[in-house]
């Protein structure tokens, strides 16, 4: 269906896609300020969705060995080591009852500790309101679910790869291996655990997250919680805290999966101001139409010249 804002602007995606009385839009709020980099989300995702091995190599980039979001990596934990400038909230850490490793608490004064900070963030498909991958898919393999998420139908995709180039976040990818995998050659990405959602289950990554860094729920409600969380962090003096993807007026109409970050988005490998490419599509078709008309006129003119 084509309505106002179908290509750009605030929108509830499921009704726009033609669903009558769909359930509330579902999404993730990933609060990176409480991410401990345990990668439970990566593992849970792989197990539940039967995502095969990724390129496994030591990259020499902190603790990141899962590389990037790609066809075989639907959750990706980024690790950034940087000079520690943000003040630490001055209250005791919440005891999660996790087993501890390393040295016992020391009486080294704060100023003598290394001036150093880790940022960790579990990245995932953004399930954009205006999803470029879905817009450009020529087979209809990518579709909008009743939950407002974006899902690939494995048995329809013919592996044209257009979605790969269209995604402004570099999420979706064509599976290249391992050899023999039935989904080699077709586009793959996070489905927001579509199968679990239809059974009233939380997506596997959110279920596995031990610190509730990954929150799952109705997007409207998550946006409110995110606003409260960022306000609370600002109150505690963590002025670097900011939300990413929560604005329905932004270049992709807001994302279904959005984030609380502690630095600029590009530090995490996220684009600072992503825009859905199809926003400019009417203009592109106009320009192409003009060029095509010129070409037809040019051909006609070539024959209308006198002699040879």
């Amino acid at each position: 269906m084509i309505g106002r804002n179908s290509l750009f602007g605030p929108l509830d995606p499921a009704p726009d896609a033609g669903y009558e009385a769909p359930p509330p839009r579902k999404g993730f709020f990933t609060d990176t300020s409480v991410c401990i980099g345990c990668k439970a989300c990566e593992v849970a995702c792989k197990e539940w969705n039967d995502v095969p091995e990724n390129l496994f190599e030591m990259l020499g980039t902190s603790y990141d060995n899962s590389h990037s979001l790609n066809a075989n990596q639907w959750r990706h934990v980024a690790f950034i080591e940087r000079p520690g400038t943000a003040p630490v909230p001055d209250r005791p850490a919440v005891d999660l009852g996790m087993p501890t490793v390393g040295a016992a608490p020391s009486d080294v004064p704060e100023e003598a500790k290394p001036d150093f900070q880790w940022l960790m963030s579990s990245d995932v498909c953004k399930h954009c309101t205006h999803a470029a991958c879905l817009d450009v898919c020529p087979t209809g393999s990518l579709f909008r679910s009743e939950f407002g998420t974006v899902v690939v139908q494995d048995d329809i995709c013919n592996g044209c790869g257009y979605c790969v180039a269209a995604c402004p976040y570099g999420v979706i990818d064509r599976r290249e291996g391992p050899e023999g995998d039935p989904r080699v050659g077709i586009a793959q990405k996070c489905t927001l655990c579509y199968d679990r959602l239809t059974d009233n289950q939380r997506p596997a990554c959110a279920q596995a997250c031990p610190t509730e860094s990954i929150l799952f729920g109705d997007v409207d409600e998550l946006r409110e919680r995110a606003n409260e969380r960022v306000a609370a962090l600002h109150e505690q003096g963590v002025m670097d805290a900011r939300l990413y993807g929560n604005d329905p007026d932004d270049g992709v109409g807001g994302t279904g999966a959005f984030f609380l970050l502690l630095d600029e988005p590009e530090v995490y490998g996220l684009p600072p101001d992503p825009v859905v490419t199809t926003k400019d599509l009417p203009r592109m078709f106009n320009r192409a139409g003009l060029a095509a008309t010129f070409m037809l006129a040019g051909a006609a003119a070539s024959f209308l010249r006198r002699n040879r």
Binding site: T139, D280, A292
Partner: protein, 336 residues
């Protein structure tokens, strides 16, 4: 290691060969260990070849119809063969580049205006049969006269009307491929969306006109010459304008593999156009010019294709323009 990682994976410093060095200070920006943000299209060179053969097919369909109407059988023949050959190769390249070639027909299960690939598939599906029928009539007409009865005779009769429909539907075949590339998050392709259709249509005219010069007798090649030279001029001018409007990612057209293709393209296109103008009476010079124009068109397609891939591999072209918008307080936001 307590540094925020910045910069591109392979920043080139110092001087480069050639005269197209752009004097822009190296942009400073943050990234995640220099890794790409957007993904390059997972396409082989097949797609660049397709851009070329599709252009040849489209321009040739136009020339074939014109030659048919104005009584130039020599030009008509080479143009119709160019149209058929270009179409056949195009479809071959397109299918070969799919991850699941056996599912090629899935393209036809929907018609989606938001997908330039879907629109293009339908444009090709409309243009292809008519252009092929016109080309088929050329082949049938070459058969012995007593074979040209019955259904085959019908093909000959339908040659002209089919060729006219093929001609009217040809320009979209040449133009849509520009939208196909531009409607992506690939910085050098998307930022070129204003002028790329003109570059590609010009390039298609130059290549198909070049084919006409290559194959048609000098006495009939006039329109092909005009079409080729006009196309070359449009291509060169539009390419200049395009670079001016692309912003930062324009530099990918000057660097590395893409830069070599683009320099070759310019040299061949200029030489081909000059040669075509000078060689009005010389079959040999016309043929050489036609070949140069075709090669120039192929180089343009390769150059634009490679520049896009390079702009996706380096996070600079994604981050820097977006960061500038944010820092200047003008991020892309929906306004009522």
């Amino acid at each position: 290691m307590t540094q925020v990682h910045g910069g591109s994976p392979s920043r080139q410093r110092g001087s480069r060969r050639g005269g197209d060095r752009i004097m822009v200070p190296e942009a400073d920006f943050s990234s995640y260990y220099g890794r790409p943000i957007v993904k390059p299209a997972p396409w082989e060179n097949d797609i660049a070849y397709y851009l070329f053969t599709g252009g040849v097919a489209a321009g040739s369909a136009l020339l074939a119809a014109g030659a048919d109407l104005t009584g130039r059988p020599g030009l008509r023949r080479v143009a119709r063969f160019g149209s058929l050959g270009g179409l056949g190769l195009s479809i071959g390249f397109l299918v070969h580049d799919l991850g699941k070639p056996s599912r090629f027909l899935n393209m036809l299960r929907v018609a989606k205006l938001t997908s330039p690939m879907s629109v293009g598939t339908w444009i090709l599906s409309l243009h292809g049969p008519f252009a092929a029928l016109a080309s088929g009539s050329e082949i049938v007409a070459m058969l012995p006269a007593h074979w040209q009865r019955g259904p085959l005779g019908l093909v000959v009769t339908l040659g002209r009307p089919a060729g006219l429909v093929g001609a009217v539907t040809a320009p979209p075949v040449a133009a849509y491929t520009a939208v196909l590339l531009a409607d992506t998050a690939t910085p050098a392709w998307h930022s070129a969306h204003e002028e790329l259709p003109f570059v590609f249509c010009g390039s298609a005219a130059a290549a198909s006109g070049g084919l006409g010069l290559l194959g048609a007798p000098v006495a009939e090649a006039g329109p092909a010459r005009a079409f080729a030279v006009g196309g070359a001029l449009v291509e060169l001018a539009a390419e200049q304008r395009m670079e001016a409007s692309m912003g930062l990612s324009a530099e990918t057209l000057h660097q590395g593999v893409a830069g070599r293709w683009m320099r070759a393209s310019k040299a061949l296109t200029v030489a081909g156009a000059v040669g075509a103008l000078a060689g009005r009476r010389s079959r040999l010079l016309s043929m050489a010019s036609g070949a140069a124009l075709m090669a120039g068109s192929l180089c343009t397609r390769m150059g634009v294709f490679e520049a896009g891939l390079a702009s996706a591999r380096d996070p600079k072209y994604t981050v820097v323009p977006q960061r500038e918008r944010v820092d200047q307080g003008v991020p892309v936001r929906h306004q009522e």
